[in-house]
């Protein structure tokens, strides 16, 4: 359909100035095309459209129509973002106006021409209107591409009347309590000529720019139209039958690679690891990384060497004195002080403490003579001092 139209588009644009004069030729080409278009598919559509139109004419204006009108006018406002090509410049306002005037005259000519054609083709009043609006839509659509400024003024002039009516429609009033399904463009039941032309014009530049936002919903329409596949019974299908057929004996197969499974478990855990979200999680992380002591805090944490040593061996050190130290006297006194000091020291192992004490034993053993000498002298001096 689109491919068919493309060559014709050029044709018609070339003929445009001549169209109003050479009505016969133009009517021939366009009527042949409309046959192509409507041949099979749209005859039903046309009938239903006619019916709808009639009913629409009977009623004054339904709520849905008002909404459609509103949405239709809204659509056009969305295209106000200027692109580089149609940037208005301050100087060319004048030129634009002149062009618009010229275009206006041309459009008027075209409209009368279209009317003529329609009256020639159709006998029925409705049919005539239909043909006329189709022709106009095509013509004005093309001129929109030719001169981007022209349709704007055209649109303004045609929308002026409905736009003022729109102001009376309170948007929020209409929309309150309604769900708007924005995937689907509303179907337009009423087909007044102006409406039809305007909508075609509004949708043209959109599809031309081809931005994603406008493409998306169209795709939805296409897909929604396809059959609803209903719910899926996830486990109701017919089993594959490789493992279940004839119930062969299956053995559990543990991972034969120990290191691999450790590594993959660790990687899996990292996949679900998030940055800590509070201080407790931070602590969990630090604990796991080994940066803090583990909970519950325990005096004996990480006590590898001394784990088997009883506390008594750390504290009751006098036992190491018994077999060498005199029972009384200054050496005994000194060694007892050493034991007290060592028993309070948490930083050395019990073995070290014992060795420390035994070092003193060897030391005193080595100095035995000197000590004896000193002690005998001292005792003599004492005796002297007592006698003296």
């Amino acid at each position: 359909m689109l491919a068919l139209r493309n060559p014709q588009r050029l044709n018609i644009r070339a003929l445009l100035p001549a169209a109003c004069k050479n009505v016969g030729l133009f009517s021939y080409s366009s009527s042949s095309q409309s046959k192509d278009d409507d041949g099979a598919s749209s005859s039903d559509d046309e009938k239903s459209a006619k019916k709808q139109r009639k009913s629409a004419e009977q009623k004054t204006e339904t709520a849905a129509q008002r909404l459609n009108r509103l949405l239709g006018s809204m659509q056009m406002q969305t295209t106000d973002q200027l692109t580089a090509t149609d940037f208005p410049r301050p100087g060319d306002a004048n030129r634009r106006r002149r062009e618009a005037l010229k275009q206006d005259a041309a459009t008027k000519n075209v409209i009368t021409a279209a009317k003529n054609i329609a009256s020639m083709l159709g006998t029925d009043d409705n049919e005539r209107k239909q043909t006329e609006s189709e022709l106009l839509a095509k013509l004005l659509g093309h001129s929109a591409e030719g001169a981007p400024d022209a349709p704007q003024s055209d649109v303004q002039s045609t929308t002026a009347a409905p736009a003022s009516a729109d102001k009376e429609l309170n948007l929020s009033e209409l929309i309150v309590g309604m769900k708007i399904d924005r995937r689907q463009k509303p179907e337009q039941p009423e087909q007044t000529r102006g409406e039809y032309v305007r909508r075609t014009l509004a949708s043209r530049p959109k599809s031309r720019t081809g931005d994603r936002t406008s493409l998306r919903p169209q795709r939805h329409i296409k897909r929604e139209a396809e059959s609803f596949s209903g719910s899926v019974n996830l486990y109701g299908g017919e089993p594959l039958g490789i493992f279940t057929k004839g119930s062969p004996k299956l053995l559990d197969s543990p991972d034969m690679l120990a290191t691999w499974s450790v590594l993959s478990a660790r990687e899996l855990k990292l996949q679900a690891a998030h940055p800590p979200a509070n201080y407790f999680e931070q602590m969990v992380q630090w604990t796991a990384q080994g940066k803090v002591w583990r909970f519950p805090i325990d005096n004996e944490q990480d006590m590898h060497e001394e784990a088997d040593v009883d506390f008594s061996e750390h504290i009751f050190l006098e036992q190491h004195l018994e077999d060498w130290c005199p029972n009384k006297g200054p050496i005994r006194h000194f060694m007892e002080l050493v034991c007290v000091g060592l028993s309070k020291n948490p930083y050395v192992t019990a073995q070290d403490k014992k060795e420390h004490i035994l070092w003193f034993r060897d030391y005193f053993e080595a100095k035995k003579d000197i000590l004896k000498d000193l002690m005998s002298k001292e005792s003599k001096a004492n005796v002297k001092s007592i006698t003296a």
Partner: protein
Amino acid sequence: MYLSAQLRLLSRCRLTRHIASGNGTHYTIAASPATAAKEEEEHIEIPKRIQRSSTDLLQALASTVGRDSTAPHYKYHDDPYLIPMSNVAKRTYALSKEAGRKAANWIKEEHRELFLHQEAQPAIEKFAPSMVYTEQSDVDVDSLQQLIDQGELTDATLVYNLLEQKGVAVSDALKQSLLELVCFYNNQEPLPEEYIEERWFLQNSRRRERHGKTWKDGDLAEKLYEAIEPKTPQSYAALIRGMAKYLQCERAYALLQEANERQIQLDTNTYNAIIQIVSYLKDSADQRWQLCSELLQQMADQQLHPNLNTLNALLECISSFGNFKLARSSALKLLAEFKQLGVVPSLGTYYYLLIIFCRERAPVSHVIVDILNEIGGKEFKIQHPKDTYFFATAMDVCRNHLHDKALAKKVNDLLHTGSNYDLVGDSFKESIYYRNYLALLCQTESIEDFMQTYDLLVPNIYIPEPGIMEEILRAVEISGAVDQVPRIWSDMVIFDHTHRESLLLYVLRIMVDNRPNAELPAQQQLPEQCAKVALDMFNKIEESAKRIRKVSFTGQMLGNILTLLVRDAGNTSSFEKASEVFAYIDKQQHRIPGTPADSALLEYVEAAVVHKAPTQALAALQYAVENNMETSALAKCIHDGYTLSEVHLAKLKSLVGEGFLEK
């Protein structure tokens, strides 16, 4: 001390069990032996001690702390100036914090002599400089074993090479472990475990990862494999899995066939690895499915019980089928089969189901409804790497495939069940999830309901991208909720969206098109707020001229700003500002493309009438005349609004001509 004293007391008294109205058990110290006598024989059962790990207590405490949506994430520094307000800032701040950690680590390693002291008792080994292995190190088999257990790939290979040089015999079991380690990482040092932020933000840049072959042919792994004689099933399995993981597909498959020929019994996970690469081995869907069936048959012949990874690998293969009918039917067959085998699906399974059933070019499927019925309210733990893809995909299906708000809410509920949030993936998937969620809600919910969700999520959990902001503005426009615009504008300023021309135009258009109703008390502040927004925008655009990403004024934009300033009628300063804006338009008219709308000028002139400023009004008229705009309404307004002085009257005449006054 106190406790032990109490306990001693207890043992002396008689301990009886007293059942108080069935509520539970109480231990009381019997006051009188008479009442206790009959219950004496009752047996006291002391519960067994439950072994707790060192982090259990902390985890229990952490689970009591929920997410506070009004506060930034814990990882950010608690200082108003350092709270990130855009996606870029979030990423930058988090990664800079981690960069600080890396720098500290580097110093610790570089100046190891400074960290040899041990403050803590017991010592914390993590704070000590790590062991460095060089060519000269004195190494033995134990240290190799230790390094493999820690997963230190580089050091382990170095130590292994040293041992080889020295001629120390390494046992086959150890070689096998090293082979597995090397195969798992493809002899490439992985990202250290502790760089959690880096991993969180990594996926953004690593999406095209799994495409080509990355396996290192003839590298250490294969040498190790050669060194193991005779070949064990384990060595086959390790090499096959390594090759399959790094997409050396052909050789992996060949190796599997070789193992089968030699009657070597492999295990389920090795078959899973091969099933995962079936889509690289065969081109068409039919061939792939056939190969899958063959592999499954082999497993059945070897009496291997398939597991969850088998199911997911098969579904991954099916998801690559172009023919959606075949894909759907075979996926359902598989599910039924594995259900009978007692394999419980993980979230990753459902992820694959979603991508099999909900495709762009296939009919719409409502499989997600059934999936949610199946797993709603359940809590999941990670079992498969693809488990983290589920939520982002499910939300995408809700938005783009089905467009269903109720489903989206269900998915969101599931995400916030238990610790399921851990499976949201990384920052990238999380933002996809929220992007789809917000976009869907703003299209389907009323603006009031939507704003509640918006308040909850923005900005601390999620910051909308400009595209989503546009969707939100569209929702605001449709419901005419102009009262939300000032708030959204302030968010846009914070999130740095003000250089997007389309967004600026959108905001202006919403405010101009929805004139606030002064009658309603709720909207009385609005004209003033709108004027502020407009002025703010004007200043922002003016400032942006100096920057790289600048936004240029258009006539229409300025016209809208002018209108909004003028509408704030109660405030004289606004009119002064409006005059300034107009002066700007007038002065720069050759630089600004386009002209303000006629209605904007008219509103400005009307305001000038109210504020008795004929000079401004005439300037506007002059501008209109010079730019070929609609002038008669303006002139009429000026003429009717003022009693003009001679000078002004003369100017008016010279601008629009004598003819006008006659009418």
